[in-house]
Symmetry: none
Subunit: 210 residues, 4 copies
Amino acid sequence: MTLRQPPSPGPHAGGRPRDADRTAEILRAALDLVEEVGFRQVTVERVAARTGVAKTTIYRRWPNVSVLVTEAFLAEVTALVPVDETLTAREALRGSMHALVRVFQGRDGQILRGLLGQAQTDEVLRESLLHRWLTPRRQLGLEVVRHGKQSGELDKNLDEDVVIDALYGPLYYRLMMPYAPLSEAYADEVLRQVFAGLEPPASDPVRPAP
Amino acid sequence: MTLRQPPSPGPHAGGRPRDADRTAEILRAALDLVEEVGFRQVTVERVAARTGVAKTTIYRRWPNVSVLVTEAFLAEVTALVPVDETLTAREALRGSMHALVRVFQGRDGQILRGLLGQAQTDEVLRESLLHRWLTPRRQLGLEVVRHGKQSGELDKNLDEDVVIDALYGPLYYRLMMPYAPLSEAYADEVLRQVFAGLEPPASDPVRPAP
Amino acid sequence: MTLRQPPSPGPHAGGRPRDADRTAEILRAALDLVEEVGFRQVTVERVAARTGVAKTTIYRRWPNVSVLVTEAFLAEVTALVPVDETLTAREALRGSMHALVRVFQGRDGQILRGLLGQAQTDEVLRESLLHRWLTPRRQLGLEVVRHGKQSGELDKNLDEDVVIDALYGPLYYRLMMPYAPLSEAYADEVLRQVFAGLEPPASDPVRPAP
Amino acid sequence: MTLRQPPSPGPHAGGRPRDADRTAEILRAALDLVEEVGFRQVTVERVAARTGVAKTTIYRRWPNVSVLVTEAFLAEVTALVPVDETLTAREALRGSMHALVRVFQGRDGQILRGLLGQAQTDEVLRESLLHRWLTPRRQLGLEVVRHGKQSGELDKNLDEDVVIDALYGPLYYRLMMPYAPLSEAYADEVLRQVFAGLEPPASDPVRPAP
DNA sequence: GGCTAAGCGAGACGGTACGTCTAGTCTTGGG
DNA sequence: CCCAAGACTAGACGTACCGTCTCGCTTAGCC
């Protein structure tokens, strides 16, 4: 059984090394094809044809199209930005939600949708996306929430995971079940309502004027 | 061009009518197969083999497996329960969220996952699920929120869609990106935090140290 | 397991019948390709491309190229001619050897060569050729030899199989190990020498020099 | 362009010389593999894997598997035995036919069958086998026949090639179209009938008494 | 009771893609 | 120049499903 791994980092073990140019071309072609013909129509055969590479050259590196597109996608998406410590939790979360909305609105959002769709029936892909896409991003959010709790900005009794889910869950929900379009304004509204809670302000000047 | 419609309601046009037993067998087999071999492995060919029915008999009724499974799924899931008007909005939403969690935990949850996954790359299926699964359920929720606003239980300034997203979004999020298991307790915690908001109780800092 | 048989003779069992035109086209293309590109280059893929038929349509009928070409070959070669009882054994054998030489010299000879070559490492093909090509032809020859023995034309002590081998073996030998070309004259010479035996005429040494 | 020649005889031209051990190992492995898995399954890849040698090391010496196996085969088969001049032609031919039958019955026979099969569709291999296997053996036979003619043992009018074909053709015929097994007894019977001819003895006291 | 339109099982058909295999060549790094 | 290792292009393999298309037969419902 072949390892089907990208050339292991570190010293080269012997034999002709994998051609890095080929790798790059294939990754590029995979993403371009997703954009042009849609995730479902991206096949190993098509990627090979597009790049002029033999199918074996692809299968040597990735076991199937989903994994190939995942790698290509993760290599393309902008790196994680570490949290700016000078911001309030609310500001930090807002910035991060906006960034996610912008990703979702672009070609990467369409690719991610395809991948998440595929992942629903592909255990391996699901694990991969959880570990390489979702978890690192959640960690940043959780960190922000933890800081907010320590600083007194957020309620000490909050379950951090639930906070993240309440803020980001709706964004993924709208990505995948698009009954209405995503926008930064939408993200702002989610943020506002979740921060404020659903009940009317206790101090409401509802007490009528005498 | 074949119509590929379920027997049109209304008077029978002539010719031998479709066999309702066949229809039922096929629907049953489709769901059983999803359970046994997973959504991806359910093919028209396999459903035909399992039921001893000809492929044409299936294609005459549904244009492809996704639609077939969708119909089977929608026919299986328990009907919508109209809102109990005597409950508070919070109680009504809690009951509905629990019901959804229970669906997600069972075989129907797995089927829905497969369908939603497929829908990410299948426009027609996506529309179908939006109209026949999601929207009716959203409507009930929106109704509850509207009532709550009218009764003064909920803040008048809330965007009803956003409320629903903040409560149900996390549930779909955990269904499809299962970094942790779903449970009714989790639903309760989402409900609690979203209702209360994220900020510490206003009266807290007021209590001065004696 | 599919039977991979040409449509069974007799009444049609149900389902759409195989298209006899397709079958004929494929058989024709197979032979043409053997002629044009050589036995080794004939692949299912190429036959499919040439005929505009799907690969499955070929695999439904024949399990591999060798069998396909065998069928095509056997369908093409002229039918067995029953022995003419009015001829002497020698005349009958001579006619049959000439006919075989003529086959060997034409395109069918090249095809047969390829098939016999393949058969050396393909048990199934070998059996097939033995039963469908070789044995029926041997039977005719054996019959002639038997008649010859009965009529007194041939020695009663002959082993019929050995007679056939001695006459036809050299022809196959020259087909497959072509150190020199085949011709009807060659067949005549084989016939002459085998009939006469290798030793000098017994009466020769008897003629004393006057 | 690589020469792909066995190490050229004569002085070594410069650079590291080929490792004779490797050559021997490869030849051995090739024959063993023919025996174990059959001619068709012997691939360069497999020979390389078995010997732990790189594919290039094989391709540097032989252009393809057939040639490799041919070399290995020719190196293995027992050398030609010069004709014993004290024997009659018949005795010499009988010994040689028996020797050939014994080769055909052993592992070398199976290898030769594979090679001859392959040669039907491989011009180069065919030439190679003709020159290196067949022709030298024919020469010995022709020599014997020539002697026999000179000594008066054989008819002066015989075509020597045809004699050889009539005696050895049947043996190759039975090797490659094995409708019945080969044996030394069979060779004897061929020899007997071909020497005696097919017609009844002229002096047969068949003429009945009146 | 016969006519007719459609349903039905069976299975052929043109396609597309799969993932694997082998051929023969090329490219490393190290003798 | 040799060697081991292994990447590379090329192309065929045989299989699985797709969705469509005949076949010959069955079955309701209307005339």
